[in-house]
Structures are given as structure tokens and as C-alpha cells.
């Protein structure tokens, strides 16, 4: 299934392939190759996007966008909307459409998630968190092809363009790959930081979990259960089970998602067992070890699997906030060990 060369299976992609598979795609490929539990999938690569863009002849309007100030929302929206419209309306080249459909069928024809994977995202400098679109519970080759185009177009959403203008990222050379993966029917899902998001502490894992799809947490629709786990002992050192009122789930009819009420008997219940919490924390540590830096991870637990089997990684990207704080050395060795005592006890300790 070499296809057009524009589509690649996740196991054939590594983290170094960001220009080809985008941030999300290259990271998921890397994790797949390393043996982590990632839902099967493939990537419609950046060259496919570039070919489409070249065919549309959009270079001139990109230059126009680049000259707009970050605060000119009306100007940005005008220029971006026109590009989006043309991308969404342009038919896919026949070869690419066949290749996407073949790969889709190779996944078993099951529902998939169609996820944007920009080449500029998740690079460790800026998160681009939540700026580009994801389409869950997509069924059938036609719908997949349509949502690939929507993902492409989302590179020119108002939020994306404004974000790029704010951080001064050039428009030329940007590209959007698209990840297509088997959908995880999530009983619960969430986010995990392999360092404390609030204090930067690298010895703990911060975990948030809620019922249904992770989009409810990422989108702020729900106050999730929160946990802190010690990386050193694996102990759950803090737990706060929230009342989780809303969830995201598959829409009736099986296409797309809806927000819904959590059944009353589940609202105040913890959505993870201690065993699951520990398994997630172990996974987090392994991924951090694999990448050599603290990670921001999205995960889900499938409801249709046996206990202990349904855990899936949906994303892992470098943690960006604390990583960019200037590290101030906390201490240096001294002439003798007791010189530390002399120094500390030689100054006032405020109450």
C-alpha cells in the first residue's frame, strides 16, 4: 500500500519526521515504533497538503496574511476565510483519495478520529494547544476525505493565524499533515503531565481524568478528577475526585460527538481505579524517559476492553511552560558538606 507516497502508516514514522507528519503524527509514529499503546492509524503527510496548496495557487494570499498585525482580527478573518473556503471546496486528487480510502479500509473500516497535525506544532517551543481541528467518530472513506480537507483548512482558522502572527511565525513553509486513527470508545480519558503544571516539580506526575472523551477536559467542559503521583515511589500522594457533570461522547447515529450529562450515579465517582492510575503513571514515566524531557500526554481508556487492556495514548508532546523558565541552579557543591549548614544557619529564616 505504497499508495501515492502521500500517506504513511504510523509505524513507518519517527519523531524526526515532523516536517513530513506534523507534530502529532511524528510523535504518535515514534510512540508506535517504541511499542507504546497507540491506536492504529496513518498520516496524510505534509507534501499532500503542499501539493494541494500549490494547485490552488494560494502563495500570494499567504504573503498578504503575513503582513497583517496580530490584532487585526477582521483583516485576518477576511483573508483566512477565503483560503479556508477554497481548501474545503477543492476536490482531492484521485490518487490521494484512493490512498486515503485504502488505508482507511486497512484499519478495518471502523470509526476513526481525523486529527490535524501541523508541522509547526508540538516542537517544544510553543504548544499550539487546541488550535487546529480534530474530527472524532468519522465513518466511511468519503467522510474521512472530507475531514482531511477540513483539517487542512483549520490551519487558517482565525485562532491559528492569530497565534502565528502573535509569535511571529512565517506563513511560508507551514504545512498541515492529518492523522487518521481508529477511534477509541473512551469510557474515560484525560491528560497527564509528567511534572507538576503548577510548581514545575519534576518528581510528580499530574493526572486529570473525566468520563467519556478527553475533549471534555481539554475543552474545559468539565472539572476533572485530579491526582498527583510520586514518580519515585509510585504512591498516589494527592487525589481529588470532582463532581463531573458533563461528558463528550459519540453522537447518536454514530457520526461526530455531542456533549451530554454524566449519569447521576457516576458524577461523584472516581473514573479511574488505583491500578489504572498507577499504570498511567508508569506509562508517563516511560514516555518521559523515551523523550528525555517532561511530557504533556493525552490518553483514553476504552470501555469495550478487558480491565488493564484498554489504555491508549492519543498524544505526547514536550511540556513547554516550565521547560522555558530559566533554570536557576538551586545549589552547588561547597568546600565541605558542613559549609551548607554554615551558609543556611548564617541567615535569617523568615516566618
Amino acid at each position: 500500500m505504497a499508495g501515492s507516497g502521500f500517506v504513511r502508516r504510523l509505524p513507518d514514522i519517527a519523531i524526526a519526521d515532523r516536517q513530513l507528519a506534523g507534530g502529532k503524527g511524528s510523535s504518535l509514529g515514534e510512540l508506535t515504533r517504541a511499542g507504546f499503546p497507540v491506536p492504529d492509524g496513518y498520516v496524510v503527510t505534509a507534501p499532500a497538503f503542499e501539493q494541494m496548496l500549490a494547485a490552488l495557487g494560494q502563495q500570494a494570499s499567504l504573503g498578504e496574511i503575513e503582513r497583517l498585525p496580530a490584532g487585526d482580527h477582521a483583516g485576518i478573518e477576511r483573508a483566512a476565510a477565503s483560503i479556508r473556503r477554497r481548501i474545503e471546496n477543492a476536490p482531492l486528487p484521485a490518487g490521494l483519495r484512493t490512498s486515503i480510502a485504502d488505508h482507511y479500509r486497512a484499519l478495518g473500516g471502523a470509526p476513526v478520529a481525523v486529527r490535524s497535525s501541523a508541522t509547526a506544532e508540538d516542537g517544544g517551543e510553543a504548544s499550539f494547544a487546541g488550535l487546529q481541528d480534530t474530527y472524532l467518530w468519522t465513518r466511511g472513506p468519503e467522510a474521512v476525505a472530507e475531514h482531511v480537507r477540513k483539517c487542512w483548512a483549520s490551519l487558517y482558522s482565525l485562532e491559528s493565524v492569530s497565534y502565528r502572527r502573535r509569535i511571529g511565525l512565517p506563513e511560508a513553509g507551514l504545512a498541515m499533515a492529518v492523522v487518521v486513527q481508529r477511534m477509541v470508545d473512551a469510557r474515560c480519558a484525560g491528560v497527564m503531565f509528567t511534572r507538576s503544571p503548577t510548581t514545575g516539580d519534576r518528581s510528580v506526575i499530574a493526572l486529570e481524568a473525566s468520563w467519556g472523551l478527553g475533549s471534555a477536559i481539554v475543552g474545559g467542559a468539565v472539572t476533572p478528577d485530579t491526582y498527583r503521583i510520586s514518580k519515585v515511589t509510585g504512591e498516589i500522594v494527592r487525589r481529588q475526585v470532582a463532581v463531573k457533570v458533563r461528558l463528550h461522547r459519540m453522537a447518536l447515529g454514530g457520526q461526530g460527538i455531542v456533549e451530554d450529562d454524566v449519569p447521576v450515579n457516576l458524577q461523584a465517582a472516581a473514573c479511574l481505579s488505583d491500578e489504572e492510575i498507577r499504570a498511567l503513571a508508569r506509562l508517563g514515566r516511560h514516555i518521559e524517559d523515551h523523550y528525555g524531557a517532561p511530557q504533556d500526554i493525552e490518553w483514553a481508556i476504552a470501555g469495550d476492553r478487558r480491565a488493564g487492556e484498554g489504555l491508549f495514548l492519543l498524544q505526547s508532546r514536550p511540556e513547554t511552560v516550565w521547560a522555558h523558565r530559566e533554570p536557576t541552579p538551586l545549589a552547588a557543591p561547597k568546600a565541605t558538606p558542613f559549609s551548607h549548614v554554615v551558609e543556611l544557619l548564617g541567615k535569617n529564616l523568615p516566618s
Binding site: R202, V204, A331, H340, V341, K347, N348, S351
Partner: protein, 607 residues
């Protein structure tokens, strides 16, 4: 509570009212323990860690002499840069303390130069100096154990004549009593000799870990430092060993709940060789390990296991049951050691620079160097020496009782040591003259009144702190031993606001969450009341309550740091503990259902 711009403080010493029925408490204690008007200007906290009960007058010696030794150590011997010594005051029978900080930068610098030289000498020669310390302590213990209380028979010993010593034994009444007091003072100077330097090393490592890992729990830092072969664990380890012997030699049926030690010994003697063997093992364990106190050595009624064998015998049946169930009765010291090293290596690996790792190694290395002393001195000092000391004083009480000055031996503990001096003079004179001691008429009403006042004062709930917020918390012992930090002050200052809430906040000393029935004990002597599965709520959890730790579900204390032995032992037992709540014994009633959250340091009163 906040945002009104007013600095919060605590009740002033001068605002403390007398307790009806104990208005005469001032007559019990020396003038230098009394709060002065100017003391309202300073921060004080109730030392319920060492003094959870109102003070019998004699027992104030366990404040007077330790503070005389600690302050000398920090202020005068090692010249700690930012702290002098600890002052103490007594109000309504309770001991409040404060450390005097040095805050002037020039003065700190002047002291720091001397401190560096002197403390450096001890840190650099630690092991050698400490082995000298052990030899000196053992000699002090031998001496206090050997002190004789003259019996004052009708005629003096013929040796006074035959050896021509020329000194009658009434002279030795005072000399030997003074020797007891002097040895107690010498012991306390030894107690503090290394201790404050030990806490200094720990504070350094602790503060570094808190900076490097802002969310690290106090107990996790403690776990990297804590000793494994700690003397304070030995008495309990010996009990486990004796339980194993009992099962091995088939005499385990004798160890039942509420068994009487005397009857068990008699039965063992009837069991032939196995019984003899167990008794031999028992005698071997007793010295020195049963010289452990049932409290922590600050009250005369904190007697040793040797003084009262019912305490170790109460724990034996449970250990016997564990051995029978095939469970390892001894502490897995090797596993604990491996786990300690693993934890330290993991935290070290999480540091981000070589410099930090090198500094971490230095700080942890220094802690490991000093910690055997920090953990072991208690056994020598507060337990072994002190229980022997109180035993000697009790014998002087016997002398005063027989001379008619006191109604019973134990009443000696209701006299100050300077008053005992007077009473002994009275007895010495009477024996010499052939007349009667006059002290009965003088002292017996005083003792009766004091005993009654102490009963009344027992029900008084002392505020955790007095006076304004302190400007600095420089004393390493105040921070590490008593656990008084900015966070503690915050908890204490909100204690009164939260008096009606059903949550009590303290420090997470040992993780886990458990629900159960509370048993509030204000006094270690009430320990027999506790039932299996209950949650112990007490002013302070003394380490030698270890044996009951096996049967309770959790522990909650008013005061205490996470380095306290009770916290360490709670972690060993895997039992949730919340310490330093400031008010648990006031807010919780025996029989109430409570939830102890040892992960977050919260106690919830359920009903």
C-alpha cells in the same frame, strides 16, 4: 481571615485566666518560670510535644535543665549565628517556650565566623567524637544506676569507724541527692552536645529538597535520611524476637491478652528447658533494651518496661499471633535500606545539573553522618538514663516517706528539687539529733493541694501559641523537631476560626486514608484504654507507644514534626498519621467517628 491588613497573632500571656480551683498554681513553680509583662511582646508556643500534661513540680526539672543545656550549646558553645537559646515559662501548669533569634546582620556575621570553626570541628570529626560520647554516656548511666539512697538506720555502718572515713551517712543523703541532680544536668549537656548540629544538617537538606521538588512531602525527605538500625526500634524488635522464640520453643500458649507477667514467669519455670531458654532470652533482651520509657522521659510517671513489664507483655500476644500466622515478625531492615537508597537515587536523578547533584550528595551525606546520633541519643538519654534517674528520686521519696515528711513515696514528685533539699536537711537533722523530722506538718498539706490543682489543670486546654507572630524562625530545633514553620503558624492562627468546622488540618506525616472511632488520650498512662482498630488522638505521639501502633488504625496529634519518632514509626507500620494539628484533642471526643487523611494532613469529624 485575610485581606484586612491586620497581622494575626495569638492570645497574650497576660490574657490567660486562672482555672477555678487551681488559682494557686503559681505557688508550685519557681519565679523564673513565670510570664513577665514584657513577655506579651514575644511569640511563644506550647511545648506539648514534651509536656503534654500539667507539670508536677519536680518534673519541671525536665524543662529547667534541658533548656539550660540547649541554650548553652547553641548560644555559648557552638555560637549558632541566628539563634541564642530557648526560654521557657509555665502558666496553668503548661510549659511554653520561645527561641531568641539574632537578627542584626553584623551580629550574625560575627557569630557565624565562630560557628564555622567550632561546628566544623564537630562535623569533621563526627564519628570519633560520637564514639567518645557513647563511652561518656554509658559511664553516666552506670553512675546514676549505682547511686545509693542512705537508709539512715539506728546506728551507722561500722565501716565508718573501721575504715575511719569520718563521715556519717546522713551527709550522703544530700550529697547523693545532689549527685543525682548534677548527673541529670550532665546527661542533658551530653544530650544536646551533637543534637543541634544534627538538626542543622537536616534543615539544610530539607530546605534544598523543598526548593528542588516543591511538592515533595516532609515524610519523603525523612525517608531518604532516616536510619534503619535505630536504637529506638530495638525494644520493639526484641519483643518480636521473643515472640518468635516463644513459638519456636512451644511456650507461646502462655502469651495471651491481659496475661500477667508474674504468672507467665512462674508458668515458664514449670516448663523445663524450653521455659528456661525463653527466660534466658528475655533476660538478655532486658538489658539494655527494656530500659525504654513508656513515655519519652519528661515525666516521673514515664517508667521503663523494666519498671512495668505489663507494657511489653501487652504487645507480645499480637507478635506471637503474627509468628504463628507465618508472617515475618522482624523488621525487613535490608529491604528498607534498599528502598531508602532507591528513593534517594531517584530524586538525585531528577535534579537538572551536575552541581545540584554534587550538592545533594554533600547534604544527604552530612545528614546520614549525623542521623545515627539524632535518632539514637534518645534511647541513651530520655529513656535509659532518665528512667534510672526517676527511680533514684523515687527512692529518696521512700526515705522522706519513712521519715514522716511525705505521705507516700511518689509525693516527692510534687516538690521542687530545691524544696526536696530542705526536706532532706530536715531528715538529716532529725536523724542526727534523734528527734522527729518536722516536714510532715509543712509539706503534706502543700502536696495535697498541688495534687488537687494538677487534677483541675488537666482539663485546661492550652492555646497552641501565645503573643504576636514571630519575626524569624531561626532555631533549627524549633523548625525540625517541633515542626514550627510558617505553615504551622498559619494552621494555628486559623485554629480558632475553624473551631466550629468539622475539619482539622495538620501535617501529613504518614500516608493513607482511614475511618474509625476516635480514642482521645491526654496522658500516656491512659494507654490501656485503647481498643484494637481505634484511632489514637493525643497531644503528642510518643515513640514508645510503638507496641500499640500495631493495634490502632491511625494516629492524630496536636503537635509534632514529621521527623518525630512517632511519625517515623507510623510510616513503618504503614498507618496514616496527621500531626501538628494544634487542637485535635480539644475538638475530637472519644467515640466520635473520624476520617484521617494522611495524604493531605486532614482529619474530618464524621459524627
Amino acid at each position: 481571615m485575610e485581606g484586612n491588613g491586620v497581622t494575626r497573632g495569638f492570645p497574650l500571656p497576660s490574657e490567660i485566666a486562672d482555672v477555678p480551683g487551681a488559682e494557686g498554681w503559681r505557688s508550685m513553680y519557681p519565679y523564673f518560670t513565670r510570664f513577665q509583662p514584657e513577655d506579651d511582646q514575644r511569640f511563644w508556643f506550647y511545648n506539648s510535644m514534651h509536656f503534654p500534661e500539667p507539670m508536677p513540680v519536680f518534673d519541671t526539672i525536665t524543662a529547667e535543665i534541658p533548656y539550660s543545656a540547649i541554650g548553652a550549646n547553641t548560644a555559648r558553645i557552638f555560637v549558632f549565628p541566628t539563634t541564642l537559646g530557648i526560654e521557657h515559662r509555665i502558666v496553668n501548669g503548661r510549659v511554653y517556650i520561645t527561641a531568641i533569634p539574632v537578627t542584626d546582620p553584623a551580629e550574625i556575621a560575627r557569630r557565624a565566623a565562630i560557628f564555622e570553626e567550632r561546628a566544623g570541628y564537630y562535623y569533621q570529626n563526627w564519628d570519633r567524637l560520637q564514639s567518645g560520647w557513647k563511652a561518656r554516656m554509658e559511664s553516666l548511666i552506670r553512675e546514676i544506676g549505682a547511686i545509693e539512697v542512705p537508709q539512715l538506720p539506728e546506728f551507722d555502718d561500722p565501716r565508718v569507724v573501721m575504715d575511719a572515713t569520718g563521715v556519717a551517712q546522713n551527709h550522703y543523703v544530700r550529697e547523693n541527692f545532689h549527685r543525682c541532680i548534677d548527673l541529670f544536668s550532665t546527661m542533658w549537656h551530653h544530650h544536646t552536645e551533637f543534637l543541634m548540629l544534627g538538626y542543622g544538617a537536616y534543615v539544610v537538606f530539607f530546605e534544598f529538597c523543598k526548593k528542588a521538588f516543591p511538592e515533595i512531602g516532609d515524610q519523603m525527605v525523612a525517608r531518604m535520611v532516616a536510619g534503619i538500625d535505630v536504637m529506638m526500634y530495638r525494644p520493639d524488635d526484641e519483643l518480636r524476637r521473643l515472640a518468635k522464640l516463644a513459638v519456636e520453643w512451644g511456650v507461646d500458649d502462655l502469651f495471651t491478652d491481659d496475661c500477667d507477667p508474674g504468672k507467665v514467669f512462674a508458668a515458664l519455670r514449670d516448663r523445663g528447658e524450653p521455659g528456661r531458654r525463653w527466660l534466658a532470652g528475655f533476660e538478655e533482651a532486658r538489658e539494655p533494651w527494656f530500659n525504654v520509657s513508656t513515655g519519652d522521659g519528661f515525666y516521673h510517671h514515664h517508667r521503663s518496661w523494666n519498671d512495668d513489664l505489663t507494657v511489653p507483655f501487652a504487645a507480645l500476644p499480637r507478635y506471637v499471633a503474627l509468628v504463628r500466622a507465618g508472617q515475618e515478625a522482624t523488621r525487613p531492615t535490608e529491604a528498607l535500606r534498599v528502598e531508602r537508597e532507591r528513593i534517594a537515587a531517584e530524586y538525585r536523578g531528577l535534579l537538572t545539573s551536575e552541581d545540584e547533584r554534587a550538592a545533594f550528595d554533600q547534604m544527604l551525606g552530612l545528614c546520614r553522618l549525623v542521623f545515627p546520633y539524632v535518632e539514637d541519643h534518645k534511647f541513651y538519654c530520655e529513656h535509659w538514663f532518665t528512667t534510672l534517674f526517676f527511680q533514684r528520686i523515687r527512692e529518696f521519696g521512700g526515705l522522706l516517706h519513712r521519715a514522716g515528711v511525705l505521705a507516700e513515696d511518689e509525693d516527692i514528685f510534687h516538690l521542687h528539687h530545691t524544696e526536696i533539699d530542705q526536706a532532706l536537711s530536715d531528715v538529716m537533722l532529725a536523724w542526727a539529733a534523734g528527734g522527729n523530722a518536722l516536714g510532715g506538718r509543712h509539706f503534706q498539706p502543700i502536696v495535697a493541694e498541688r495534687k488537687q490543682m494538677l487534677e483541675v489543670l488537666r482539663d485546661w486546654s492550652p492555646p497552641p501559641a501565645l503573643g504576636p507572630m514571630p519575626e524569624a524562625l531561626n532555631d533549627p530545633a524549633v523548625r525540625m523537631l517541633w515542626g514550627v514553620t510558617a505553615q504551622t503558624l498559619e494552621v494555628w492562627s486559623h485554629a480558632s476560626d475553624a473551631a466550629h468546622s468539622r475539619e482539622i488540618h495538620g501535617y501529613a506525616a504518614s500516608s493513607g486514608v482511614v475511618e474509625g472511632i476516635a480514642r482521645v488520650l491526654r496522658d500516656v498512662n491512659e494507654i490501656g484504654q485503647i481498643r484494637a482498630g481505634e484511632i489514637l488522638v493525643c497531644p503528642v505521639t510518643a515513640p514508645s507507644w510503638g507496641p500499640v501502633f500495631g493495634k490502632i488504625a491511625a494516629t492524630v496529634s496536636d503537635i509534632g514534626g514529621t521527623m518525630s519518632h512517632a511519625a517515623i514509626i507510623a510510616r513503618e507500620y504503614g498507618m496514616p498519621a496527621v500531626v501538628g494539628t494544634g487542637q485535635a484533642t480539644k475538638r475530637i471526643k472519644t467515640g466520635q467517628r473520624i476520617r484521617v487523611d494522611g495524604d493531605r494532613g486532614i482529619v474530618h469529624i464524621l459524627g
